[in-house]
Symmetry: C2
Subunit: 385 residues, 2 copies
Amino acid sequence: MKEIAVIGIGITKFGELWEKSLRDIAVESAMNCLEDAGTDRIDSINIGCMSSGLFIGQEHLASLIADYLGRLDIPSCRVESACASGGLAVRNACMEIATGVSDYALAIGVEKMTDVGMGKATYALASAADQDYEAFHGITFPGLYAMLARAHMERYGTTREQLAQVSVKNHYNGSMNPNAQFPFKITQDTVLNSTMIADPLRLMDCSPVTDGAAAVLLTTVEEAKKLKKHPLVVISGFGSAADAIALSHRKELTELQAVKTSAAKALKMAGRTIDDIDFAEVHDCFTISEILVLESMGIIGPGKGGPATVDGYTALDGKFPVNPSGGLKSKGHPVGATGVAQIFEVVNQLRGNSEKRQIPGVKTGLTQNMGGSGGSSVCHILEAK
Amino acid sequence: MKEIAVIGIGITKFGELWEKSLRDIAVESAMNCLEDAGTDRIDSINIGCMSSGLFIGQEHLASLIADYLGRLDIPSCRVESACASGGLAVRNACMEIATGVSDYALAIGVEKMTDVGMGKATYALASAADQDYEAFHGITFPGLYAMLARAHMERYGTTREQLAQVSVKNHYNGSMNPNAQFPFKITQDTVLNSTMIADPLRLMDCSPVTDGAAAVLLTTVEEAKKLKKHPLVVISGFGSAADAIALSHRKELTELQAVKTSAAKALKMAGRTIDDIDFAEVHDCFTISEILVLESMGIIGPGKGGPATVDGYTALDGKFPVNPSGGLKSKGHPVGATGVAQIFEVVNQLRGNSEKRQIPGVKTGLTQNMGGSGGSSVCHILEAK
């Protein structure tokens, strides 16, 4: 397999982008990415998008985006694994480079979620759960994660305040991210006094409904060295895994098996252990998710995620910073774009370009992107060389 | 890149399978495939499905299918390129094998289309066209292909009777396919007297709305030789390309550029020319599509597709048999499954197992799977070794 480098990154503002369509933001992120890369060569396109069918009545993004990028005649593919679609698009782009089928592989993540009423957005998102055994019976994503939170609280004594601290930390980080949907600081009281959504989760425990897109351009390390536009950042490992889609099919609720396996695979491919990683962008679609993910990957011991968050272990200046971008909570969560936006943040940090939210001296970063309530997960290991 | 072999194929009955769900038929095709392969090893799953979101309110098939196949912990991915989703799933499975990331890669194509009313199926299918510039204004797929048919008739003098003959031929072939949705013979009169759908296309020019699934298991040639269960069939080339999604963006209406490019790429990878190919399964979603595809790939000269069909060139006993399975018209067209079902037919023919519809002595076959009105296309070259 050929070694893979990231030579371009691009992103749009995240938020309610009512004046822009899906094709507009997908192309905007890609053009920003090509500008950053200093090349306009693309040999293939992989697009991560969860549900453009249900959100805007448009499938066949492979053709649509190739068309509006003016890049016909090349292989183009849309991949979907619910909210892990973006991570999967990057994994597929890695496969294009690794085989040598493409020398320049573009991955785009995109979702346009605000063109429908709230009820329809909730219906679309629930299609990531088991339609027959979960969604049909009325459960929504806040409800599924509320059950995971309850299980964690029961087993480990995780508190409401600890959950709130995940949101407080991520909003602090996001307050320094100009592309974030909600770039402002909040306090524990903001979270604890916000509207109850699905007990114990309140509004400020939940990531928002967002429009946005992000793009990365991959090539071989050999090609990247020729361009020399940026410090060399490589993708040294990727891992992907599935788990049961319905919570009732899982062996365990206080650990996410797909997260554990996908991270272990990515680390193995990179020849690294979790102790070699300096920081991570992880899938905090709800506050409990970040805690579950950190414990499942072995960054923090079982049941220690809540206390570690309160102690500042995962803060921007902590021992293992998590979600310097602001995470899904503050930055926003355009579901199909999230996995690519995580790569954007990690590459920017590894280049030392993250301005006020820069973590000093980081050399290795990890991304973890989750589908549904943990039914799938995709991880990448990135390293500055 | 490692060489790729097909060691297992599986399919379900195509038709209105009201008593079975999407997960049932996906798993049924996969189990048939593993039975055929004589192994139950799967290292990764790629699922082609166009619009389970709009058809049954279910995304996240990567998790759902891995779950119901009892294969958690492995990479699982759904890919979508409208009606070319199945072909793209096979291409992605090829990439898994070629990189060495997987030694056994399963590709499944599936669509459950009959659980919604007809109006909703037409809406879902129209999401493969440009939503903003085509579908929103009321055009449906029969309408788009009717315009392509009109352009071809105007330019080359293609006749209504020639179009009808595509359907007559494919129904003749399909009458010998026990899995076909409509396994019966028809005459030119059946087509010419059927209900007008979108002038000049009548009901019997159109492929039906279908439930169905198909699966193929790929491995390396080295592994396949060890198993020795079937004659060795290899995938020697694959090619994929995009074109403008909307007809109004195309330079040309009487040739499908994505088809031309994808076939040329697949042939180049295989080190073959079109003259080396013995037969093909192609995307006859409408009668005009088969003619356009054959001309675009250079199997028949421009404008000669209609007369060649009437002359029997593409018949089962003709010089270049096309759609021995019965094609989308007679076999049925569960959109996401079609590309994988094409591989099923070609492998079965190359193994000499196609019974009454067996083409004698075939050694090389081609599949061509199309998205939308030609906005994407995926081709594979298969060879008996």
